[in-house]
């Protein structure tokens, strides 16, 4: 091979090594950084049940707003905070607990005893006593807490996003 050709291949080799190594290092930094920022933190516990109140205080078919305290994991802190739930006793052994926010834009809704429906004051979404949307822009039924009964004690787990059509 000519001297010129030799020089050209050497230059190509040098360029390949330079680009290759820098890409490698860029990846080795960028990938862990992306994972570090985007991956959810490891959960500190599986599920926490909180006592929200007693069955005795509930009237059948009358939604009641229960206020209770629960621990919230907030990054490196665990803070104890007030939480609310709209609770309906459907039978002696069955209770539904709705999350306190309207599934439309997160406003706090309330029970309207006159019309026997949940009413969100923000955009006038209304919901039936079992959480289905009866009017307004809400895209899905009310969200529900996981519920567990221990004797008379009403235990609430995490809130789950409701699925399915509004009605």
């Amino acid at each position: 091979m000519s001297d010129e050709g030799n020089k050209a291949t050497r230059r190509t080799f040098l360029l390949m090594v330079i680009y290759g190594l820098w890409s490698l290092m860029g990846l080795a930094l960028a990938l862990p950084a992306a994972i570090y920022l985007l991956w959810p933190p490891r959960p500190r516990k599986e599920r926490e049940w909180v006592e929200a109140g007693s069955l005795v205080q509930l009237q059948p078919k009358t939604p009641e707003e229960l206020v209770f305290r629960r621990n919230r994991v907030d990054g490196w802190k665990i803070s104890s905070e007030k939480a609310t739930a709209w609770v309906v006793k459907t039978s002696d052994t069955e209770v539904i607990a709705f999350g306190p926010q309207c599934p439309h834009l997160g406003c706090a809704y309330h029970w309207d005893p006159q019309n026997q429906e949940f009413l969100c004051p923000c955009h006038a979404s209304t919901f039936s006593i079992d959480g289905r949307v009866t009017a307004g822009p809400a895209p899905r039924p009310l969200d529900r807490y996981e519920v567990k009964l221990e004797g008379d004690k009403l235990m609430l787990g995490p809130v789950h996003k409701s699925e399915g059509p509004p009605t």
Binding site: R11, L14, L15, V17, I18, L21, W22, L24, M25, A28, L29, P32, A33, I35, Y36, L37, W39, P41, R42, R44, K45, E48, N71, G75, W76, K77, I78
Partner: protein, 563 residues
């Protein structure tokens, strides 16, 4: 496609001059004699960028206040994926940065590359070295563990010794009373707000001067030049890559310790600076009493001044390395001196940090208390009983001294008395204590253990142990475990736990026992990072020598697999 790319480049070039600027930088003429010996500067710049990058990422999940800092760092390394790697890169990157900067400096010094007209380049370099050390000093406090706290106590004490400037430095560092929130805020601000822009600016100036004077040729260089790109860029890249691989392996393989939360009352802690400051630390020991300032301030200052003035002290013409015997001698002596001091410092360090806490030869009185009684000390402190009571006779307080009165009572009497003091001691002005029965039982357990002899020692039980015992007590760990012979024997004795397990293992066991043995009956405990830390530190401080019954030992062996 190619035409499109060229159009795009031309478009940008016409408006910004970016292409010609890059070309100008890359196609710089450098002496043909340049080569592998000149890669260190580039490596240092690269490491600085890695530090800035990882530092920024750490800051995204870091709370810069004492206590919170510790918790958030713990969160980064235990709960975030990739968090341990980020901290590892930042920690080891700092060490590597020091190594590379010193290598860079040594090369320039040996080759006499600081000579006229490159004096200013050299002096900027010395300032960059000092900045690198300042990062190490300020960053050391930021984890807010025991090591950070006590290391910084020493640093600020040294700063306060500076002639004339001492009091002002102390005030600037916010360390007049104690190391606390103020010092922490200042160190954080220095480390992330002040130092980085200054460093970046000086690096740019430094490189500008290198370019202005051209890379220093070897003596006898015939004046032939070559282009910086790609020959020298290739060498720089390979060197940077090697450094990066070493850094990455260190970050993955060598765990950076996070010790106990900073505990200003921990009198047994022996602070040590990071390895690169050990030689200074050892120099300090060579001077006693009023001469200490020689080792702590005077000698380091002289060394820095000598470094700064090196180009003016050595004014001869450039010579080959082989003829620079004085320079080689100085580097050799410095290397020997540094190594000697560092090795001495390492050898003479008492092995406290590697020795688990419980292994101390002298068992403190508090270590022999049951967890219940130790937790009682915590309630004693929380309820501020000492406003009215002394433990031993002497001093005038409203209530009686407790060590001499309490021993005559029964636990039941004590608990009744706490609930309604005047019922049992007519005329008592003591207010009722509002604690649960279990907490009152703990308080009485502590008070009944008091004697005039041990009261001082018990009163000074370290907060981490007391709070750890309170957590132990509150979560009723004693229904399954024994400590110092008290408690049930469903699980093994926790005395000597430090010999069998690592702290990480125990933390995991508390948080999620099923991860170690799927059919264990132990429930998981949801404790805050602080609670877990103190509980585990407390358990690890338990002496392992407490005698247990033979049956207990048998049981312990039997259950060893599932503690």
């Amino acid at each position: 496609m190619k035409a499109l790319k060229q159009t795009l480049i031309d478009w940008v070039e016409y408006r910004t001059g970016l292409e010609s600027a890059v070309k100008n930088f890359l196609y710089e003429e450098i002496p043909a004699s340049s080569g592998w010996h000149q890669v260190f500067g580039s490596v240092a710049v690269f490491l600085f960028l890695v530090q800035a990058f990882t530092g920024l990422l750490l800051t995204f999940n870091y709370a810069p206040t004492p206590g919170e800092a510790y918790n958030s760092l713990k969160y980064i390394v235990t709960e975030l994926t990739g968090g341990r790697l980020m901290r590892g890169l930042h920690h080891w990157g700092a060490s590597m940065m020091i190594v590379v900067v010193v290598l860079h400096m040594t090369q320039v010094f040996l080759f006499g590359a600081y000579k006229k007209p490159r004096e200013a380049t050299w002096m900027l370099g010395v300032m960059l070295l000092l900045l690198t050390l300042a990062y190490g000093l300020t960053g050391y406090l930021l984890p807010w563990d025991n090591r950070a706290y006590w290391g910084t106590v020493v640093t600020t004490q040294i700063a306060s010794q500076a002639p004339l400037l001492g009091p002002y430095l102390t005030r600037l560092l916010g360390s007049e009373g104690n190391i606390g929130v103020v010092t922490f805020a200042r160190f954080f601000a220095l480390h992330v707000l002040l130092l980085p822009p200054i460093t970046a600016f000086l690096i740019v100036l430094h490189i500008y001067l290198v370019r202005k004077h051209g890379v220093a040729p070897l003596p006898g260089d015939a004046g032939i030049t070559k282009k910086f790109f790609p020959e020298q860029v290739f060498k720089d890249t390979v060197a940077i890559f090697i450094a990066f691989v070493i850094l990455f392996v260190l970050a993955v393989a060598v765990k950076v310790p996070l010790e106990r939360l900073a505990d200003p009352t921990d009198t047994s802690y022996i602070p040590r600076p990071d390895w690169y400051f050990l030689f200074l630390f050892q120099t300090l020991k060579l001077f006693r009493g009023s001469a200490e300032v020689v080792g702590s301030i005077l000698l380091p200052t002289l060394a820095v001044v000598a470094l700064l003035l090196a180009p003016f002290l050595d004014r001869g013409t450039a010579k080959r390395l082989a003829q620079r015997t004085v320079a080689v001698g100085i580097v050799g002596l410095a290397a020997i001196g540094w190594t000697g001091l560092t090795v001495t410092a390492i050898v003479t360090t008492p092995k406290t940090s590697t020795m688990a806490e419980g292994e101390q030869t002298i068992i403190q009185d508090w270590q022999e208390l049951s967890p219940e009684a130790l937790a009682g000390i915590g309630y004693f402190r929380e309820e501020q009983c000492s406003t009215c009571h002394n433990l031993t006779e002497g001093g005038s307080k409203v209530g009686p001294a407790l060590a001499s009165t309490a021993i005559r009572r029964t636990p039941a009497w004590m608990i009744e008395h706490f609930k309604s003091p005047s019922q049992l001691v007519p005329g008592s002005s003591m207010p009722p204590i509002h604690l649960s029965d279990a907490q009152l039982a703990a308080l009485s357990a502590f008070l009944l253990k008091l004697t005039p002899k041990n009261s001082k020692a018990l009163e000074s039980a370290p907060p981490y142990a007391v709070e750890g015992a309170m957590t132990y007590q509150a979560n009723q760990c004693g229904t399954c475990y024994t400590v110092n012979g008290e408690g049930m024997k469903v699980g093994p004795s926790l005395n000597g736990l430090f010999k069998r397990r690592t702290k990480e293992w125990v933390e995991k066991q508390i948080r999620n026992p099923k991860s170690h043995s799927p059919d264990t009956i132990m429930p998981s405990y949801d404790l805050s990072p602080r609670e877990i830390d103190q509980l585990v530190s407390y358990l690890f401080s338990l002496p392992h020598t407490k005698s247990i019954s033979i049956a207990g030992i048998e049981m312990q062996r039997y259950l060893q697999g599932q503690d």
